[in-house]
């Protein structure tokens, strides 16, 4: 094999790279304009978690998150990407503080958007108190940034999904793009099963996990605005589209969200399974939704037309 990438453009490489499989750094490299990414507090500074050694666990020099700035179609953006392969992308003290600092700067500047590439199981339990509080600080910083006019876009399609407090931060974002393997939830399948029993939720039933928490269900509910193919280029295009669509945040958004969520409870509050919800949405043969190829699914989701970008 000689120089296999020589004739491949960055966009082609991004198109052929699975977002799910890629590392946080590769995602950022291919998501942003070529060569534009600059990291803040990179791994060379070795800012590791001060807590993992208590559990004899290995540290990582970036504590599982990459933050910095770059360009998207020429326009400046702040970015944060979690590394789902390190401690499940979980929020610890250092990990969370990097994102908090980034959001605080974005609020002060007021016009540069923030992209968050979620890939997280939630709080890092070995430093649970610090991680929980980091999430609270990030939620506050997201809302203060949005109140100052900053657009905060979440991209969800990683191995670890977007669970626990990550799901709550995602709920604070201006808009979300999600791919099929991107899962969004608070309690993970294993946690529900441990607490409530296998009758409540069988965590080994992967089909149940995907249709309850997966990207397709979240898109059909309107919890995510764009359904992306599992490649980095598609997430880049989704981010650009969402940056165009998102309007200013204010009280009217929160009132609209209250109504949007109340409407969801009225319509689907008695449904026992995602298939029941999809059927109630008017989808014929709803049980085939999990098998639909992405293009057909996107056409279906667009026809159902549930969005949340004006109501979140």
């Amino acid at each position: 094999m000689t120089a296999p990438f020589r004739d491949i453009t960055p966009a082609e490489r991004a198109r052929s790279t699975s977002f799910y499989e890629a590392s946080a750094r590769t995602r950022l490299e291919l998501l942003l304009d070529a060569g534009s990414f600059v990291e803040f507090i990179g791994p060379e500074q070795r800012e590791i978690s001060p807590h993992l050694n208590i559990f004899d666990l290995p540290e990582q020099f970036d504590d599982g998150i990459v933050v910095g700035h770059g360009r998207l179609d020429g326009a400046p953006v702040f970015v944060a990407a979690q590394e789902g392969r390190f401690m499940g992308g979980a929020f610890g003290e250092v990990h969370g503080a990097k994102l908090t600092g980034l959001l605080r700067a974005a609020r002060e500047i007021g016009r540069i958007p923030v992209l968050i590439l979620f890939d997280t199981g939630g709080v890092r339990l070995q430093e649970a108190n610090a991680g929980e509080l980091a999430i609270a600080e990030i939620m506050r910083a997201v809302m203060e940034a949005r109140a100052a006019g900053v657009k905060v876009i979440g991209l969800i399609g990683g191995r670890s999904g977007c669970y626990g407090g990550g799901g709550l931060i995602a709920g604070c974002c201006s808009a979300l793009a999600v791919s099929e393997p991107g899962r969004i939830a608070v309690s993970g399948p294993e946690v529900i099963e441990t607490n409530r029993g296998v009758e409540e939720f069988d965590s080994r039933d992967r089909a149940l996990v995907w249709r309850t928490m997966g990207g397709k269900h979240r898109r059909l509910l309107g919890a995510a605005d764009v359904f992306a193919h599992d490649n980095v280029q598609d997430f880049r295009e989704a981010a650009l589209a969402l940056l165009d669509l998102v309007g200013p945040f204010g009280l009217e958004r929160l009132k609209a969200e209250q109504e949007r969520l109340a409407d969801r409870l009225r319509r689907y509050g008695a449904c026992l399974d995602a298939v029941d919800i999809w059927t109630a949405e008017g989808i014929a043969h709803a049980e085939t939704v999990p098998e639909l190829p992405a293009d057909q699914f996107i056409a279906l989701a667009d026809r159902i037309g549930r969005t949340s970008r004006d109501a979140r």
Binding site: E93, E190, Q258, S308
Partner: protein, 240 residues
């Protein structure tokens, strides 16, 4: 303290706070004559989609029609762990409650959380940790996650976890550990009038700025968070 004890001591002149299946909704009049929105979760109730939406709706109504500070009382379980809640998008309902509280706080309706019992995980994020000042009462027992779930996720034995929990504030459940992190701003006394302590706090509310990371550093619980956040902020500001 029980909920009745807390409410009686907070509002000796009476209150109109109702407890409807663990969801607290109502208001009270402060000794200054000012009115206060009071809401929260009681009886160690899990915070699910239905409860969260009622609470956020009450805050939004109060933003339109009311004034004065907002008190969030917390004695909850964690978020409700169920298939139905996750199916319906529990993360959005919990975020929405937090967002409404944060919005109120940023717009002239200062928020105070009062943790008087248990709370955990997503329920704490959507209530007490979304207020400007979180107060703890002696006997409060917050925990980010219960130890059996932690054991499952960390694949450590319960014995090992319990041993480490005794010596490690950054991970172990408990009010004093959360206070050391900077999550709980102050702990009130349960032997003097809560009304007096509430009045003193309202007379001297800290600025709206989130300084919990600085507090955590001063108290020795989180030595790195404030510094890391500040460094990233500086670098980002220098870039533009």
């Amino acid at each position: 303290m029980t909920l009745d004890d807390v409410l009686t001591s907070l509002f000796p002149d009476g209150h109109e706070v109702r407890n409807d299946k663990g969801v607290l909704l109502g208001s009270a009049t402060l000794r200054s004559g000012a009115s206060m929105l009071v809401l929260g979760v009681a009886d160690r109730t899990a915070l699910g989609v239905d409860e969260a939406l009622r609470l956020s709706g009450q805050v939004l109504k109060s933003i339109d029609r009311g004034q004065g500070p907002i008190l969030v009382l917390v004695d909850s379980d964690s978020q409700r762990m169920s298939k139905r809640d996750e199916l319906l998008g529990l993360n959005e309902f919990l975020s929405h409650l937090a967002k409404v509280l944060i919005h109120a706080d940023l717009n002239g309706r200062p928020t105070i959380g009062l943790l008087y019992g248990h709370s955990a995980a997503g329920a704490l994020l959507a209530t007490g940790l979304a207020t400007r000042v979180l107060v703890g009462l002696p006997g409060a027992a917050p925990a980010v996650m219960d130890l059996p779930s932690m054991a499952k996720v960390t694949k450590l034995s319960m014995d090992a976890l319990e041993e480490k929990a005794k010596s490690t504030p950054v991970f172990a459940p408990g009010l004093s550990n959360l206070a050391q992190m900077g999550a709980v701003h102050l702990t009130w006394s349960n032997t003097i009038s809560l009304a007096d302590q509430l009045e003193a706090l309202l007379a001297d509310m800290p600025a709206v700025q989130d300084r919990r990371d600085v507090l955590g550093k001063e108290r020795g619980g989180r030595l790195k968070a404030a510094e890391i956040a500040e460094r990233v902020r500086d670098l980002a500001l220098q870039a533009y």
